[in-house]
Amino acid sequence: MGLPVAHACSIVPISKTVGANRIIPTVAIPHPFGDPLKSREEEKSLRRELVLKALQALTVPISEQTVFS
């Protein structure tokens, strides 16, 4: 039992070390869900893609730690 959790993080090896099961690699440590170099619109669509990927990861059956890249 338990809740599926999508761990959105930028340093995947840390996520693996601490034992996250559904891992979603993100952009960078200070802005995982964004990119200040992009325009506002581009940045938001990038964020949307990443959040969608995280939500989709919650629907995937897994038997071990999995990186959804």
């Binding site: 809740l3 599926p4 959790v5 999508a6 099961n21 869900f33 200040p36 939500l55 038997s63």
Partner: protein, 224 residues
């Protein structure tokens, strides 16, 4: 066991009842040492380590000891760390959501995104608590309303747009588009910067219980 080992000295015992005699002898020896205030020696006393660091005067500097350790490692000789990594447990992956469009989702972060002013005074490092913040009527996290208090990364970008860490703006969009069914009305935030494993485990348990009680089925957890 992990919960009690810091307060209670626990002797190592065998899984089998045949090892009971040895286990009792170890316990007795540990008890005697404690009564006489003798120091416990991790390599000799067969107890579950309590995760405490002890100060001592070393004959060689840290740099010399580190180089020696590295040379031993390269040469394939035995060596022993002076600062063991904490042990992380493993949990089996939770079952997936059967239908995302009917799921209730929650947001959690260790990236230190809090209401401006940090009302719960969550520490920028070695956090002792997490905050619970209502997002019931919040469409997106504004820089006027929210900030990062994480002491382990440059907060400039998160302060400019806190959605870069806790992506509430697009989560709301996807909710409106019915990609998922509902959003838990609070988000949970702490700072994952030198925060102890024991504390983090406690935060996870508390937050998890609240989420399950509210019927949440899936979580997006952002770390920085």
């Amino acid at each position: 066991m992990a919960e009690y080992r810091q307060e209670v000295v626990i002797g190592v015992a065998d899984k089998d009842v045949m090892g009971m005699e040895e286990g009792l002898q170890r316990m007795l020896a540990l008890g005697k040492k404690l009564i006489h205030h003798l120091p416990l020696v991790p390599e000799e006393d067969n107890y579950i380590l309590q995760g405490r660091r002890q100060n001592y005067f070393a004959e060689k500097s840290g740099a010399e000891r580190a180089v020696e350790m590295l040379l031993h490692k390269i040469a394939g000789l035995p060596y022993q760390t002076e600062y063991a990594m904490p042990s992380f447990d493993r949990v089996p992956p939770a079952a997936p959501l059967s239908d995302l469009s009917r799921a209730r989702i929650a947001l959690v972060t260790s990236g230190g995104i809090v209401p401006r002013g940090n009302p719960d005074r969550i520490e920028s490092a070695s956090a002792s608590r997490f905050g619970t913040y209502s997002i019931k009527d919040v469409a997106a996290l504004s820089p006027e309303g929210y900030q990062s208090i994480h002491g382990g990364y440059d907060p400039t970008y998160a302060n400019q747009d806190p959605n870069r860490v806790l992506p509430l703006d697009v989560v709301r969009e996807l909710l409106t588009e019915k990609v998922f069914a509902s959003l838990h009305p609070y988000y949970y935030a702490t700072v994952g910067n030198a925060t102890s494993v024991a504390k983090a485990r406690g935060f996870g348990r508390d937050i998890g219980q609240t989420l399950v009680a509210d019927g949440v089925q899936g979580v997006i957890l952002t770390s920085t």
